[in-house]
Symmetry: C2
DNA sequence: TAGATTAGACAGTGACACTGACTAACGTCA
DNA sequence: TGACGTTAGTCAGTGTCACTGTCTAATCTA
């Protein structure tokens, strides 16, 4: 198993490396009050706001869990809830200015790490990787 | 972000798909008392047994957490602890027969899923994916 | 043999994630 | 239009996971 790990595990290793780099960088520049689980929900919020139920579905957690995480994000000022004009039952989770700033920082880290990978793999392999993963997504992401 | 998700997220999606398929399959054939966190530790156990500290390092959790998970795996009969002949302080975590049976089932699911992916991607792309991920591992896995 | 290191356990705490039960708003259809 | 099923979200309670800090016993080193 160490000789040739399965592809699932091989996918996980770089994913985890990126995730933890993003989080430690965020913490080091002042966003130390955000956790992994919060980030996973946060990154699914669209530019015009997203409903709690949709966030829960995409992050594959229950509505209750998503609500709990959004509570925390709201308390620390990264998001706020506003009524959904289209549906009186629903509310939209929107990113605040603080949230947008954090998002920008995170995007920078992601870009930097991707370029490190490209350095190591070569741009051709990197492009092929991206394309292959997009294809794989078709059969592994129920929300694509 | 939905138009072109970052590579980190793209890596995560198939990984999660495989992980959850393995777990649900295990549960459906009688191994319903194993959790995700336990599985992550379990799959790092070598054929001759592995020390708790090594498991903790590879799974990137603390010794305490690893010990907690091994406790559970021991209680449900997947592993047992035996003294390490080479070091009186240490004990080796070994896979039991029940554990080996579960491991075989899991390996079957992984193989089936990989072949699904190969069907979808074509064998050439699949081989390239595997090779690229192995290269990426060099710079993203501290325990490679 | 004294001192530093290492393997592992115990206690306590906080973060997630779940099920189940509930309210309120929406949509439909007779 | 009003009863009925559905959907959005919350509240309460529970179990799992992962952490820090502290401790012991065995091992290694000088």
């Amino acid at each position: 198993m160490d000789a040739s790990p399965n592809v699932g595990l091989l996918l996980f290793l770089p994913y985890r490396a990126m995730e933890s780099r993003v989080l430690t960088t965020l913490a080091s520049v002042g966003y130390s009050d955000i956790t992994l689980a919060q980030a996973r929900v946060f990154q699914r919020i669209g530019p015009d706001g997203t409903r709690l139920t949709d966030l829960a579905e995409q992050a594959q957690v229950t509505k209750q869990t998503a609500g709990f995480l959004v509570d925390q994000l709201e308390r620390t000022g990264y998001v706020r809830r506003v009524p959904d004009p289209a549906d009186g039952r629903a509310r939209l989770v929107r990113i605040t200015e603080r949230g947008a700033a954090a998002q920008e920082t995170a995007a920078g880290v992601v870009a930097a790490m991707e370029s490190e990978w490209e350095q190591h793999l070569g741009s051709r392999r990197m492009a092929a990787l991206r394309e292959t993963l997009l294809r794989l997504r078709e059969i592994t992401d129920p929300y694509a």
